[in-house]
C-alpha cells in the first residue's frame, strides 16, 4: 500500500458486499448520545433501521418511538420480549454497568448485539457478556466507531504493511470537559459505580482501542497515575451521592513487540483529541481524532513521502451501524467483537490497579 493507495482507501468501504435486506435494531437506552448521534446514524445508513426503543421513561420511549415508527418499550417490556418481533438485534446504550443485562436479554431472545463502549464496568461482567452471546450463538460487536471509519481502517492497513517501519510508540489524548458540560455532574458517566470508572473508561478507551487496532497488538503491562476529584454533586456530604472516579488519567502501556504507548484522558480542561503513531521510518498524526463526526486531519510522513488527509472519509457512526448490520446479514464476525471490548475493559482495570498501587501491572487478559 503506497501513499496513493492510502488516500484511495481512506474514502472506501473495504467490507461492503452489497447484501440484500436490513437489520432492525432495538435501541436499548435513550440517553443523549443514543438519541442525537446513534439513531440518526442508524437511519442515515443502508443496512440498519430502528425497530424498537427502550427507556425507563415510558413517555420518552413513546415520543421517540413515534418519531421513528418503532415499538416503544420499558426495560421490563424489553426483558419480557414484549415486541420481540420488531427487531433482529439490540443496540445497548445504557450506563456501562447495565450493559450485561441488556446483552443477556437480547442473547436469550436469539438477537444479535451491538453494545456501546466500554463493554461493561468490570472484566468479569464483560466476560459474562461475551459468554452469553457465545452460548446463544449470536453476534456481539463492541461499538468502536473508529474501527468502522475508512480513514482509520486504511491507516491500519498502511501500518501493517510496514509503511512507517516498526512502530516505536503510540501517544494519544482525549480531553472532553464533561464536568463543564450542560448536563453537569448529574449524569451517570460521572458516577464511578454506574460507569465502572471515570475519564478512562468513557474517553480514554478511544486512544487505547484505536492504538491497539492500528498496532494489531494488546498491552501486556501498564503504569498509571490518576487524579480523583472530591465528592461532587448536590449532596457532597451524603455517602450515597455518586462519586467521580478519575477526572484525569495518564498511563503507559507496553506492547509485546517493544512498542510503548502513552495515553491521557480528562473530564476537564481544554478540549482536544489526537493520536500519534511513531515508527522507525515514519509517523502518523490524527488530529481532532475522537469527537463524533469530527473534521479529522491525518498527517502521514514516511520515507517515501508525506501526505495530509483532510475533508475525506465518512460519518464513522453511520459506518459503524452499517458495518454491524452487514456482519449480521452476511454472517461475518465483526472485527471489534466482544473479546476486543473485553480486552480494553481488562487493560483499563489494570490501569486503575496501577494508579492505585503505584506499581507496573500485568495487563494481559484477567
Amino acid at each position: 500500500m503506497d501513499l496513493q493507495a492510502l488516500v484511495d482507501a481512506a474514502s472506501t468501504r473495504d467490507w461492503d458486499t452489497d447484501p440484500e435486506g436490513t437489520v432492525s435494531l432495538a435501541v436499548v437506552g435513550l440517553g443523549n448520545y443514543a438519541r442525537n448521534v446513534s439513531i440518526p446514524a442508524i437511519e442515515g445508513g443502508d443496512y440498519a433501521t430502528v425497530g424498537a426503543v427502550v427507556s425507563g421513561d415510558p413517555e420518552k420511549a413513546e415520543r421517540v418511538a413515534t418519531e421513528h415508527d418503532a415499538a416503544a418499550l420499558t426495560y421490563e417490556g424489553y426483558a419480557e420480549g414484549e415486541a420481540v418481533d420488531a427487531y433482529d438485534a439490540a443496540y445497548v446504550a445504557t450506563p456501562n454497568r447495565l450493559h450485561l443485562d441488556g446483552i443477556r436479554t437480547a442473547a436469550d431472545q436469539g438477537k444479535h448485539v451491538i453494545c456501546e463502549k466500554p463493554l461493561e464496568a468490570t472484566p468479569e461482567r464483560a466476560a459474562a457478556a461475551v459468554d452469553a452471546c457465545d452460548d446463544a450463538g449470536v453476534t456481539l460487536m463492541t461499538a468502536y466507531r473508529m474501527q468502522a471509519d475508512p480513514v482509520i481502517r486504511a491507516l491500519g492497513s498502511f501500518v501493517s504493511a510496514g509503511r512507517i517501519g516498526q512502530p516505536t510508540k503510540a501517544m494519544g489524548e482525549f480531553t472532553f470537559p464533561v464536568l463543564a458540560g450542560s448536563k453537569g455532574p448529574d449524569q451517570w458517566r460521572l458516577d464511578a459505580e454506574l460507569a465502572g470508572g471515570g475519564a478512562l473508561v468513557d474517553v480514554g478507551v478511544y486512544p487505547l482501542n484505536t492504538a491497539r487496532y492500528l498496532l494489531g497488538s494488546d498491552p501486556v503491562a501498564v503504569d498509571a497515575t490518576a487524579r480523583a476529584s472530591e465528592p461532587f454533586g448536590d449532596r457532597p456530604d451524603d455517602p450515597e451521592s455518586p462519586r467521580l472516579a478519575d477526572e484525569h488519567v495518564h498511563f503507559l502501556a507496553e506492547f509485546p513487540e517493544g512498542t510503548t504507548g502513552e495515553f491521557t484522558a480528562s473530564f476537564s480542561g481544554d478540549a482536544d483529541s489526537w493520536l500519534e503513531l511513531v515508527g522507525e521510518s515514519g509517523r502518523i498524526r490524527i488530529e481532532n481524532a475522537f469527537v463524533p463526526n469530527g473534521e479529522r486531519t491525518v498527517r502521514v510522513s514516511t520515507d517515501a513521502g508525506d501526505v495530509t488527509l483532510s475533508g475525506i472519509g465518512a460519518d464513522e457512526t453511520v459506518e459503524e451501524f452499517d458495518y454491524f448490520a452487514h456482519c449480521v446479514l452476511t454472517g461475518t464476525p465483526p472485527e471489534p467483537d466482544g473479546r476486543d471490548g473485553l480486552t480494553d475493559v481488562a487493560v483499563m482495570d489494570a490501569v486503575y490497579e496501577a494508579a492505585a498501587t503505584g506499581r507496573r501491572t500485568d495487563a494481559s487478559r484477567r
Copy 2:
C-alpha cells in the same frame, strides 16, 4: 499579559540591561555540538567571546584556537591553569560524567561556569558541582537554551499569569535518531557510563526541563518504562564495549499542584519534538520544539482567543550565551542555575529507578 503582549514579548529580551564589557569563555570540550553550534553562537552574540579552547586532541585544539584567535589547551593544561588569564568563565561541554571535573577546575580558578545539560551523570556528582561553585562564590548556569528563548520565556509569563487557567497536564516528546546518525554507535552519548543514561538524559531532559520551567514547579513522583538496546558497537561480545542505556523512555510525572506530565524520548524512530501544555481554559502547543535553532511554531488557544507564533523569536543558543555573560557582567544569578540542573538529574535518576523497579518513585531532591 494578553495575546498581543505575548506576541510582543516573544521577540523581546526581558533581561538585557545593556551592560558594558564582554565575558571571555574557555570552551572545555570540542565535540561536534560545541564546535558547530555553541562556538558560532558565542561569537554571534553581544556579550561573550571565545578566549580558550580545551581538547584531549592537541591538534584539534590548535586548529580551533587558531580559527578563533584563542588559547589552545589540553585538559592537563586547563587543570594546571596554563592560560588562566585568557578566560573569565568556562563553558563545559565534555561528556556528562566529566562535567564535575571541568566545573571544579573552573571554580578553583575563581571562574564562572556555564555547563551543558544534563549537569552531571548522577545526582551526587551534580550536587558536588553545585557545592563547588557555591564554595568558590562563582556563578553556575546549566545551559538550558530553551529558558533563554524569548518565545519560551514569554510563554512562561503567559502561563504564570493564568492565561490558560490552572494547568492540568504537560506532554512532550523529543525523538532524535542518534542511532541512525553519521556518528554511529561510537559517540559517548550512547555510552551509559559516560553519559549517565541514554535518550532520557540526552534528549528527554528538554521536555522535562521546559515543562518544569513553564509550570514553575517540579515533579514529586514518577512512573516510567524504558527499553534498553542490546549491546552494540564494533565489539558487542566484549564486556568492556560501551553499553547503551535507554533507547526509548516514557515517563509520567506528578507535580504538586495536581498537574501531571507525560514525556517520551528516543534515540531512534521518526524525528520530531514537541511540547504541549493543557490548562482548564486553554492550551499551548510548541511544534519542532527542541531542535537547535529549529523553526518553531507555537499554537496558543485560550478563552480570550487563539494565536499562532511562527517565524519569530531568536537564535536561542546565542541568547543562552549572552544571557549567561549578562548574568556574569551584572552579578545576577541565572534562572537555570546549578540547582535547576541538579533537580533534573535527580528526577531522571528517579525515572530510571521507576523504570527498573516498576514502582512509582519519589522524585523530590535526593
